[in-house]
């Protein structure tokens, strides 16, 4: 069953056409990996899905659970269960990380008509995630992403994913800049979310993270289009031959 369908998507940033008739179908509960050369449009695709203001859709459509989300506000898409772990998470000085996380979680609980958590309940719920991700507890009392190292920012993205429990999870180069332990911990976090219902779109340049999280599908994105979809067996081939030799499906 498909949960998200991207059809003939065309999108530009400024005057530059970046997505040029992209087709992609995400199957519910599966792990989809996207690989492709620098500048191919991978981050643009993820931004387009979450409604980033930089991107203008000029053609095609994105449907989520059967409904077009093209005109939805970013916060609504988020509340409907679409999560993006940013390639470069922005720093927000002065906003306490724990306070932010709780606000985001409570916004979601409220949207779903559930009871909001108080500060104590929330901290308790968060503690176990911190441990698993190897995050020091001072990281949640600090300002959101401010002065975080590259790896700490990525762990903090995963922490948000674990707390918000989204349905479609887009991870844009979550593995870039992670040390060996962090890569394992982050992968563990991702695997914890794999429950056969949640759907992943994992953008990466490296096979290492894919060894941990075992994708169901590999899509090759090149020059604004998905040119090939295959099983995980494609990864070693790409590692060896690069993207040049890939023929369009």
């Amino acid at each position: 069953m498909s949960i998200m369908k991207i059809e003939n998507l065309e999108a530009k940033i400024g005057d530059k056409n970046i997505l040029k008739g992209l087709n992609l179908e995400l199957e519910a509960g599966k792990v989809h990996a996207i690989m492709g050369p620098n500048g191919a449009g991978k981050s643009t695709l993820s931004k387009t899905i979450v409604g980033h203001y930089d991107v203008e859709i000029t053609g095609g459509d994105i449907t989520y659970k059967g409904k077009s989300i093209k005109d939805m506000e970013p916060e609504e898409r988020a509340l409907e269960g679409i999560f993006l772990s940013f390639q470069h998470p922005v720093e927000i000085p002065g906003v306490n990380n724990a306070y932010f996380l709780r606000t985001a979680l409570n916004a979601k609980l409220k949207y779903e008509g559930k009871e909001e958590l108080n500060a104590a309940e929330f901290l308790r719920a968060m503690k176990k995630h911190l441990e698993m991700l190897g995050m020091k507890s001072d990281m949640i009392s600090r300002s959101l992403n401010e002065g975080f190292s590259g790896g700490e920012k990525k762990r903090n993205e995963i922490l948000q994913m674990l707390i918000l429990e989204p349905e479609v999870i887009i991870l844009d180069e979550i593995d870039s800049g992670l040390d060996i332990d962090a890569l394992r911990q982050v992968s563990e976090g991702i695997n914890k979310m794999k429950d056969g219902k949640r759907t992943f779109l994992v953008i990466t340049h490296y096979s290492r993270i894919l060894d941990y999280i075992e994708p169901d599908y590999i899509h090759v994105l090149k020059d604004g289009k998905v040119i090939k979809t295959a099983g995980p067996e494609l990864v070693p081939y790409l590692e060896e031959h690069g993207y040049d030799g890939i023929k369009e499906d």
């Binding site: 916060e75 000085p93 918000l164």
Partner: protein
């Protein structure tokens, strides 16, 4: 489509713009000696007070309006203002306040009924409407502790010795143009005296309401903390939405003796005018504290969200050895508001210490200027100052300016200054929205984070109020 949310209006409605429907006694506009005689007579003042008023008027007439502030406004015609307005049917008994006024104060969230106040936190209130104090609550209970809490008009009649001794002692009559004007025409305000060694048993507060049209409000507040005493005082204010500008020129004097402490908090929410600059209060205020004795401590905390123009520099004269002055400020300018605000810390005594934390927020076409002076006299051996001035810009049409001045005659003084300017970026807002937080909540989240250091200085109930007020001020037609 680069985030319209930010570029368009980020400004909420002014919620307190209603008018209290009462009859008002108001004198004809104009200012001369007869005006002063009229005010003095209305207030049943002794002769000496009238003489001082006349002296102040004469001085004022020789002075010129200052224009060094980074403020742009149409000149004020002082003869077109009415200098006295009072709700009619003012009955002498304090218990008989016009129900409409009580109701209006309820609407502002302030109960003037002692019975109705929630148990637990007691706050004594002096309620000032236009030129008169309409009611002061808990005066009797405070009296048991020797605390005097009354209107300045009453103090002039009942405690002339204290008034003569301290009024004009911190802000001299002709200190500046607006102070001189106030000295001549001041109408009401609050008087507080905390006796030796007394910790004031409740929060004191004054709520100023401008109601009548074409009037100015010229209140005068005098607080004296005798040796070893402690008081926390809060002031709030608001005014109806009107198309013309109204002048508010207040003077506040604080005297802190040996080992005493005053915490003075302000939540300023005068009507700010509209986005084109029409209407709004011109707020020209002189606030000054003197730490007379050793170990005296004063802190000014202000949250400035209202007024079309704010010109205000709460200052501390640190005369006693080891005395401490603090200034915590959040100033918000949105719409077409302009604020030129800051503080002066004058170090005279040995080992005096001052802290300045200033947070300026500008949105829409708001212009926010911090102007601060740290002056260290040669006598102030071991003086220390820490200043931090941060500006936050929302959108691209607003501005922030910082003018820190330092005069140090003592090389032993230790002065530290930090300043930052940041902008709420589209990328930050987007990040928060991607986590399901609405754009408005995202803005207020960043703003609260920015103001945290200042809000934490406010008494709890006021911190909550300040937070809500800020939210309302910056809330807007997003998207």
């Amino acid at each position: 489509m680069a985030n319209e949310g930010l570029d368009t209006a980020i400004s909420g409605e002014y919620e307190l713009g209603f008018e209290i429907d009462i009859e008002t006694d108001i004198i004809e506009p104009g200012l001369d000696i007869d005006t002063l005689k009229f005010i003095s007579k209305k207030k049943e003042e002794p002769e000496w007070m009238l003489d001082l008023r006349i002296k102040a008027l004469k001085k004022w007439e020789t002075m010129t309006e200052p224009h060094w502030g980074k403020l742009d406004y149409t000149p004020i015609d002082y003869q077109s203002i009415s200098y006295f307005a009072a709700p009619k049917e003012q009955i002498d008994s304090l218990d008989e306040v016009d129900p409409k006024i009580l109701e209006a104060y309820e609407k502002l969230g302030i109960s003037l009924d002692e019975q109705k106040q929630l148990a637990g936190v007691k706050v004594a209130v002096d309620a000032v409407v236009d030129s008169v104090s309409v009611k002061t609550t808990y005066s009797e209970e405070l009296e048991k502790h020797g605390v005097i809490f009354c209107s300045i008009s009453e103090a002039i009649r009942d405690y002339p010795e204290l008034v003569k001794k301290y009024m004009f002692s911190v802000v001299p009559m002709a200190d500046n143009y607006f102070a001189a004007l106030n000295s001549a025409v001041f109408t009401d305000g609050t008087f507080v005296y905390i006796p030796k060694g007394v910790r004031c048993p409740m929060e004191l507060s004054t709520y100023f309401r401008i109601n009548a049209m074409n009037t100015g409000q010229f209140e005068r507040t005098l607080i004296i903390a005798d040796e070893g005493s402690h008081v926390s005082y809060n002031e709030g204010c608001s005014a109806p939405t009107r198309d013309d500008h109204q002048l508010h020129a207040a003077v506040v004097e604080l005297v802190i003796l040996k080992d005493a402490e005053i915490k003075y908090s302000t939540i300023q929410n005068w009507y700010p005018g509209d986005e084109t600059g029409k209407g709004g209060i011109y707020n020209f205020v002189t606030k000054r504290a003197i730490c007379e004795g050793e170990n005296a401590k004063v802190s000014w905390t202000q949250v400035e969200t209202g007024s079309a123009i704010t010109w205000k520099y709460p200052s501390c004269i640190l005369k006693g050895d080891n005395s401490v002055g603090e200034f915590y400020s959040v100033a918000v300018t949105t719409l077409a508001q302009q604020a030129d605000t800051g503080t002066k810390m004058i170090h005279i005594g040995k080992n005096t210490k001052s802290t300045i934390i200033s947070k300026g927020i500008s949105a829409m076409k708001g212009q926010n200027t911090y102007r601060g002076l740290v002056k260290i006299n040669s006598s102030a051996v071991g003086a220390r100052n820490y200043s931090e001035c941060d500006s936050l810009l929302i959108g691209s049409e607003c501005g922030a300016h910082t003018f820190p001045y330092l005069e140090s005659k003592d090389t032993q003084g230790q002065v530290e200054h930090e300043a930052t300017t940041s902008k709420i970026s589209d990328e930050q807002l987007f990040y928060l929205r991607q986590r399901g937080i609405t754009e408005e909540d995202a803005v207020s989240m960043i703003v609260h984070g920015f103001c945290k250091q200042v809000f934490s200085q406010l008494p709890m109930e006021y911190a909550v109020e300040a937070k809500a007020l800020l939210e309302l001020t910056l809330e807007g037609s997003v998207g």
